[in-house]
Symmetry: C2
Subunit: 361 residues, 2 copies
């Protein structure tokens, strides 16, 4: 853990700050090891204060035993609500004059309370995504966790999707997948399982409903296990019985784009390079009108994190980063196809962690 | 839905504003009917813009069909990312000069981007919790949903807790409760189920672990169903076999406090009045050192919402509000007891929705 904190301290130093305030609960976990989540954006479970010599975790009194047990490198202290007042007082005791904060994870209300109680002689400097960026390259331990969560995801997909029969509703299939995730040992869902059938498959973020799944129509399953906080991410498009020519053609196009983008992943490529490869395949096959999202994103303690692989992404991919490869085609009124694997970026390519089967053509 | 929007417009008018920006996803759902959640605080699924005549929902293009299907009273429009730029442009088209925003649910980063793109002639006025406050008093339809989610919660508690046998781990019991929630038809968990046994029961927010549950020790189960977005909230403390005198005494004390606080609930009482009644019981019985949280909170689309019933709460309870009554005692190294029901506040008392059984003494 301390190597992670050291990198946070390096951010502090390079920004010429006296200390940093961590409010993003995922970064709190990443840096301290404390596994608590927040009930909501306005219900923080705790914050970190880090400087050259101190690592403090402030939380409610009822959380102290838990936080102390898990955040071994941090001194834990109880705060009083509203927490920005407590934290401002503690920062004044520490004598910090210039404080880095996570501007994407601090509300205007909490910022105002914090600044009011710090006084105008103390400056709060936005860190943008500098702390999140620390999580992008995974350690070997984290890569092992991503491999394990992917193995759990794939196994649960195989078990869950095997239960599909004609007439089953989307919700029933989603529940069977949730059952399968638990049966294989997942700690929960990495995100809300998507089952989108027939015309619903044209909506990438469809929530499973009461629609009954019939033979020959596309069924998009987008799912992930959860393991030590790390999230799996897998999409397969399947169908019952035989597919008509249109579905077979679209499936083949998406698979070709998927493989082409995957082949383009390597350290030094940009996110938009990898995205463009899929778009080029779709353009050549005449499907450009049906592309409605980027080809991939990073995954780790959050289901969406750096790097981004969409149009316009200037993120330069680095070895040790995780990326989804998930091109899709979506046709209003008909349905859609998406195929998603999870890869680890390497110097001269990538390692595909996903082993879930594809539909045979 | 339109009556809810009208009340939001009333807030706008009383604050002398041209329009309001809704960023809290729960308020977005409450006002528009769109059931989407946000992946994270920095991953908004959409926002609302409301003025005297317009109801706009802005979201990503991939969400448009879903949002349009559910948010019948709203015009849906696609935004471009980063959304504060798109939304600022739209607000400028609308000609608003003074805009109310949810300062507890807008990040410093998004605020800065919004203000930069609005220009300095446009003012952003914090609404504090004025929009959240609209949700506190439940309509008859919402009270029916709260009654149903409580019925599902209670039934799942009975089924799930019946599986407890000596040697079962906390996680196993938590999974049985999750199974029971799904078996009775719950849409999921209203919040992460707590199972805390023996010494772990001294931690109100304990996460279920591998500890094996033995006869005679307290087992706190804190759980809730989910129904149309509304959340149940129930706590029972149970044990296998016989309890020793200490557990029986503490259980009796908590039950007495629970019943006393419940009897004190009525419109016009303050949250701290109801809290103090439990504290008085505990003081009389010599347990004051073991009280570490307030007696209750509101519940609805969020698991914690207005009103608050803790020490110092000045919230005046109103008919139609929902409140948990959940006094507890927590003794380090030994364990704890908490008993929680959900009530609807009425003019001259309250209606207890919870029917889950208590331990017989």
């Amino acid at each position: 853990m301390s190597e992670r904190v050291q990198r946070a301290v390096d951010v502090m130093t390079s920004h010429d700050l006296d200390g940093i305030l961590i409010t993003n609960p995922v970064n709190r976990r990443y840096l301290s090891g404390w596994t608590a989540e927040d009930h909501g954006f306005d219900e923080s479970s705790g914050i970190l204060l880090i400087d050259q010599t101190k690592r403090l975790l402030l939380t409610g009194g009822t959380n102290l035993p838990w936080a102390t047990a898990e955040a071994g490198d941090f001194m834990t202290e109880a705060w009083q609500r509203p927490w920005p007042v407590s934290v401002a007082n503690r920062i004044r005791e520490l004598g910090w004059q210039r404080i880095g904060f996570e501007d994407a994870f601090l509300s205007v209300a909490d910022f105002a309370l914090l600044q009011d109680n710090l006084g105008n002689d103390v400056g709060l400097a936005p860190l943008d995504n500098a702390i999140d960026a620390l999580r992008a390259i995974k350690s070997s331990e984290e890569i092992a966790l991503m491999a394990e969560v992917t193995r759990l995801t794939d196994e649960a997909f195989v078990r869950g999707s095997a239960t599909l029969t004609a007439g089953m509703t989307e919700i029933e299939l989603a529940r069977n997948i949730q059952d399968a995730l638990r049966a294989v040992g997942s700690e929960g869902e990495g995100f809300e399982t998507i089952v989108a059938s027939g015309p619903n498959a044209a909506k990438p973020h469809h929530r499973p409903g009461d629609r009954r799944i019939e033979p020959g129509e596309p069924v998009i399953i987008d799912m992930g296990a959860l393991w030590h906080g790390y999230r799996g991410d897998l999409t397969r498009t399947i169908w019952i019985g035989d597919a008509d020519q249109r579905l077979r053609d679209i499936y083949a196009a998406v698979l070709e784009a998927h493989n082409a983008s995957k082949a383009a992943v390597r350290a030094g490529a940009t996110g938009s390079d990898v995205d463009q490869v899929s778009r080029d395949v779709f353009a050549r096959l005449g499907y450009s009108d049906y592309v409605i999202h980027g080809v991939g994103h990073g995954v780790g303690l959050r289901i969406h994190e750096a790097p981004s692989a969409g149009p316009g992404s200037t993120d330069v991919l680095r070895a040790g980063e995780v990326l989804t490869i998930e091109p899709g085609l979506y046709i209003d009124g008909w349905g859609g196809v998406r195929i998603e694997n999870l890869v680890i970026i390497e110097e001269d390519g990538c390692r595909d962690l996903t082993t879930a089967p594809l539909m045979k053509d």
